[in-house]
Amino acid sequence: MSLATPTVDTHATGHHHPEVRHQFDDLEQQHDSYSLGMWAFVVQEVMFFSGMIVCYFIFRYKYPEAFIAGSNHLNLPLSTFNTVVLLSSSLTMALAVHAAQLGHKMRLLQFLMATLILGSIFLGVKVYEYKDKYDHNLIPGYNFKWETESTTTEHGEATDEPESLNPALKMPPLAQQVEVFYGLYFILTGAHAIHMVIGAVIILIIMVLAWYDHFSPNYYVPIEMFGLYWHFVDIVWVFLFPLLYLVDRAAAGGH
């Protein structure tokens, strides 16, 4: 394990590679150190999202009907398209790292550009979806209204109780539960979208650096580390897509 090897003063021996920072022995140790640091970051990001996803599981366990109703109201064809777009952007990102490893500058720039465009398409579709939720009064705590078919009246009479000081109680319980689902939907997809926006900004920075020949087949660590981040964002979506959009489509008879 190169990280555990005793340090050798390469300045003294005169074999220091120009692309190795002074605190590292060689390219491999430098690469392993960067990778480990990036993985530490990725793993803590995994923990960050897992807290929200466990919250999702608890409420899905408590409110199964509301999650089916809420999920089936989401746009499945559009989100499937978006899933394919994001997976494609992961592929172009992997190919960008591949081009960087081989030192193909133009191919690197083209693949980074493709990743940026695909990421932007994903975010554009997301904006359209959010706008659609706004138009249908599905923003929790802002304009949330959920029309229930048959259960409204039988639960509705409880709202006349004088002790119901909480205005939220005027809604039937199913609507409240669906509101929880939409709250989780916006928090999870919102946190994911913020990661995408940050990623898009970093792609632009890397493209500028690549344009000015900052990278070489020996030094492409920033591109590879950013690739890890981008693939991680993809993995989050791999879980969000079935958890939010595919809750028992069979039970609700499709949408």
Binding site: A40, M47, Q101
Partner: protein, 108 residues
Amino acid sequence: MHHHVIPLKVYLTIFGSLLFLTIATVGVSYMPTVPIVHLIGALIIAAIKTTLIVMFFMHVRYNSHLIWSFASLGFFFVLLFMVFMMGDYISQYYSLTPATHAVPFDKF
């Protein structure tokens, strides 16, 4: 060049598998079966997709054992977190259903 350069064919094969699994996960949710099968099916497919992305797109398969163990430990702890949290909620009689505890449950 001391780094492992993965052939393009590998990337394209992984991408094809990911697309196939995306269609499969939509298909599973339409299967006429009990809800828990939908959830478990979706999670298994997502886990396979994650493994493919981590191993090949994120190069963990070709990285050092330190990176390998770091990555897998992260996902292992998430699994522990979920199993213990859900085990707790499923085995106890917490009630999240009433919006406020001031109103008795049967008054809703």
